[in-house]
């Protein structure tokens, strides 16, 4: 693979998590025969053969399948077998908590299901972000006196569910204006919340937080309740009914749950999980995206009553710089959103 491109891509992934470069980049997409696409807060850019970011796709560097395979091998540290189980699910999580989605030809095994993915033709690298303070405007809604309310964060992909739950966990664990510090256990099936690498969390998830890394959610919740005695359990991306069974088990034992799922409204949750089941969640936080920014659409009770709604022109918008939330509230000046940042040797101003 072109060394310049490899170095630039690896720099994006391994750079200081709080640098403006990393903050600006949301996704790196590689597709066989197409230019490398970099999704940033300011839109889609492409990479030329020298690793510079450009607007024109035609001048972008086109990668082939062997280059994609080589890059994937670098991401896996030449040890793809170590990610065998994850590859079967269509992704790997690499150092830093970045998730790499894999496209290619699926090899089936009629006993195990998906055996592996061969002829990898596309990679989608989602850059993990840690933004401290991003949960500030919502913390008041997840406490009922001293108790943490069972809360479900619902949003379509790429709206910042994981970033939000990570900061919520940190604040619940460390203690905040609404409650003292609690023992929290993260069931981090995809190693995205705590971005654990070699057993150590790369992200700040709080001083009273235990992490069960790469553990299936339904098993992890039971293990955590029995062995780690948490006050709060945090799980990312509820997927199937076994997860809901484990959540029922947890709530019946007095453990609070903070979870996320893909969707657009609490109705999606009800359709997916609520056939003859008790509703375990008392709060629903609905997120969305507006002009490329993470916004909160509303916070709802379990009976559908809206606690707080953010109208079309009054969305709560998070403004962050250098990895820290510097402002929350109504929409601010564009250049405050990202500040100046540099990518591939080019300096851009504002978002």
């Amino acid at each position: 693979m072109n060394k310049e491109i490899l170095n630039v891509c690896m720099k994006y992934l391994t750079d200081n998590r709080k640098s403006q470069t990393c903050e600006a980049i949301r996704e790196i997409r590689m597709r066989a025969g197409r230019s490398i696409s970099i999704n940033t807060a300011r839109g889609e850019l492409f990479m030329d053969k020298d690793g510079n970011l450009i607007y024109n796709e035609e001048s972008g560097y086109r990668v082939n399948t062997s280059e994609i395979a080589e890059f994937f091998s670098y991401l896996c540290k030449n040890s793809a077998y170590a990610f065998e189980d994850e590859i079967r699910k269509g992704y790997v999580t690499i150092q830093g908590g970045h998730r790499v989605g894999i496209g290619g030809q699926v090899v089936m095994d009629y006993v195990k299901g998906v055996r592996t993915i061969k002829n990898i033709s596309s990679l989608n690298i989602r850059i993990s972000h840690e933004i401290k303070g991003v949960a500030d405007p919502l913390m008041q809604y997840i406490y009922d006196g001293v108790r943490v309310i069972n809360t479900l964060i619902i949003a379509p992909p790429g709206c910042g569910k994981t970033t939000l739950i990570r900061d919520m966990v940190r604040q619940i664990s460390d203690g905040n204006a609404y409650g003292r510090g609690r023992n929290v256990c993260i069931i981090d099936e995809r190693s995205e919340i705590a971005a654990t690498y070699m057993g150590v969390a790369s992200c700040d998830v709080g001083k009273r937080t235990d992490v069960l890394d790469a553990c299936p959610k339904h098993l992890g919740m039971l293990m955590a309740i029995r062995s780690l005695a948490p006050d709060v359990l945090a799980v990312d991306e509820l997927g199937d009914k076994s997860d809901m069974e484990a959540i029922e088990f947890a709530t019946c034992r007095g453990v609070s749950i903070i979870a996320t799922m893909h969707g657009r409204s609490s109705e999606d949750y009800r359709k997916k999980f609520m056939d003859n089941r008790m509703n375990c969640f008392e709060r629903f936080i609905i997120l969305g995206k507006k002009n490329g920014r993470l916004t909160v659409k509303g916070v709802y009770k379990d009976n559908g009553e809206c606690i707080t709604s953010f109208g079309e022109h009054n969305d709560t918008t998070w403004v962050y710089r250098d990895g820290n939330c510097i402002q929350t509230g109504s929409v601010c000046k564009d250049e405050d959103v990202m500040g100046n940042y540099q990518m591939g040797g080019v300096t851009y101003r504002g978002a």
Binding site: N7, S79, A80, T116, I117
Partner: protein, 142 residues
């Protein structure tokens, strides 16, 4: 030395089976149970891979093998077999990765068997020569 490498490859196989860690990490874990110069070779591989995020494990491994095993009495052919342990790998499947290491171990064991056979033949030749020279000496004395 070859037996030390074979022992390490067998340890590596068990480590992969048990922990399913990355190759660099497995090198570090197994280095504790090996003797010099294999020990320092594995430690160096781990350090380089940790230091450089975009290091290619195969290249790091080859460089370290050639550097540390050069003066160990092994022939170039044998060093090449060891250096190529991970050259055509990066399997997405643990079993295949283990099989490729086992294949390399088998090659090294074959080399050991050949060396052993060679040594045995040389020993037998030396024995014959000793006996013959003894007989000749006795005849001359008589």
């Amino acid at each position: 030395m070859l037996w030390e490498i074979i022992k390490w490859e067998e340890l590596l196989t068990e480590e992969l089976k048990y922990r399913q860690d990355t190759l660099a990490r497995c090198c570090k874990n197994t280095s504790l149970y090996t003797k010099e110069p294999v020990n320092s070779m594995l430690a160096e591989i781990w350090e380089v891979c940790e230091e450089k995020s975009n290091a290619n494990f195969n290249e790091v491994f080859k460089t370290a093998v050639k550097k540390h095993l050069k003066g160990s009495g092994l022939k170039m052919k044998e060093i090449d077999i060891i250096a190529n342990l991970f050259s055509d790998t990066n399997f997405y499947d643990k079993e295949m990765q283990i099989n490729s290491i086992r294949y390399n171990t088998m090659l090294l064991k074959n080399v050991c068997a050949e060396i052993q056979k060679d040594v045995n033949e040389k020993a037998r030749l030396a024995l014959y020569l000793g006996v013959m020279s003894g007989i000749v000496t006795i005849i001359l004395l008589i």
